[in-house]
């Protein structure tokens, strides 16, 4: 499995081949929080055009919430970060640029950090 590492708090663009199962790692600035324990983390992907997101068209989302089974895993050590598991079904029918945004929600339901950018889904042909 390939691993993509995403730094936090600045626009982050990254490519992902359509239909590939990949683990995306977001690095969290320790100034935001010293621990991701007791936080909720959301990562959502939207359609966009020329960098302008269409918030009315969310393509898929991941979170640390228990249902459905969480695809986001918070990590406190050695590097404050969280991983997002992208499955084959998430991107197999996608192509081109999509806007992505991650948000960290504190126990007090405040948004304390995030990251955003373009996820470029690159073309693949094999459908197994």
């Amino acid at each position: 499995m390939n691993i993509i590492t995403i730094p936090m708090l600045s626009p982050q663009n990254f490519p992902i081949p359509a239909g590939y199962s990949q683990l995306i790692t977001f690095i969290v600035n320790p100034a935001i929080t010293s621990s991701l324990f007791d936080t909720n983390i959301f990562w959502r992907v939207y359609s966009q055009w020329q960098g302008i997101p269409n918030r009315d068209e969310m393509i898929f989302e991941k979170s640390t919430l228990p249902s459905p089974p969480p695809d986001i895993v918070p990590i406190d050590s050695p590097t404050l970060s969280f991983t997002v598991q992208v499955h084959t079904a998430d991107t197999v029918d996608l192509l081109g640029n999509y806007y992505h945004e991650a948000s960290i929600q504190s126990a007090g339901l405040e948004i304390i950090g995030g990251s955003w950018g373009i996820m470029a889904v690159t073309a693949t042909e094999n459908r197994l």
Binding site: N13, F14, P15, W49, Q50, G51, L95, G96, N97, I118, A120, T122, A123, T124
Partner: protein, 135 residues
């Protein structure tokens, strides 16, 4: 309908764009599709066939990317006119302003010129005969 160009196909077709991030290429393709039409709009786009439409999108996007490379090389938006070393004498030229008969900068890259040639082939000057309309 053959699939329209993607960042993957652009990097295979134009190897010099391999170092460019996929997201940047996709943005150029979005602009090219707007200019040339897409599969959904093709019935109204009047390109000769799918292959001509695809070539048009490829050349339009390649032109945008090549212009970005040329102009970013200066850090000023201008195009490098000459450079000599080791004296390090570099001069920059300002791209021409659009004119009535030359509304874009297509002549500044080989992709732009190919796009213009393709457009001429697909959209020749119209010869209008008996165009009068009476009500």
């Amino acid at each position: 309908m053959t699939d329209l160009p993607t960042s993957t196909s652009m990097k295979m077709r134009f190897r010099q764009f391999v170092p460019i991030p996929d997201a940047d290429i996709e943005f150029a393709l979005e602009e090219a599709k707007l200019a040339c039409g897409t599969a959904a709009a093709q019935s109204n786009s009047d390109w000769i066939d799918d292959q001509n439409l695809i070539m048009g999108i490829q050349y339009y996007a390649a032109h945008i990317l090549q212009m970005t490379i040329q102009r970013s090389a200066s850090g000023t938006g201008m195009i490098k006119a000459s450079e000599s070393t080791p004296e390090l004498s570099v001069s920059w030229t300002t791209p021409p302003w659009p004119t009535a008969d030359q509304i874009t900068d297509f002549n500044q890259t080989m992709y732009g010129m190919r796009f213009k040639a393709l457009v001429r082939k697909n959209f020749p000057a119209v010869l209008v005969v008996n165009s009068g309309v009476r009500f």
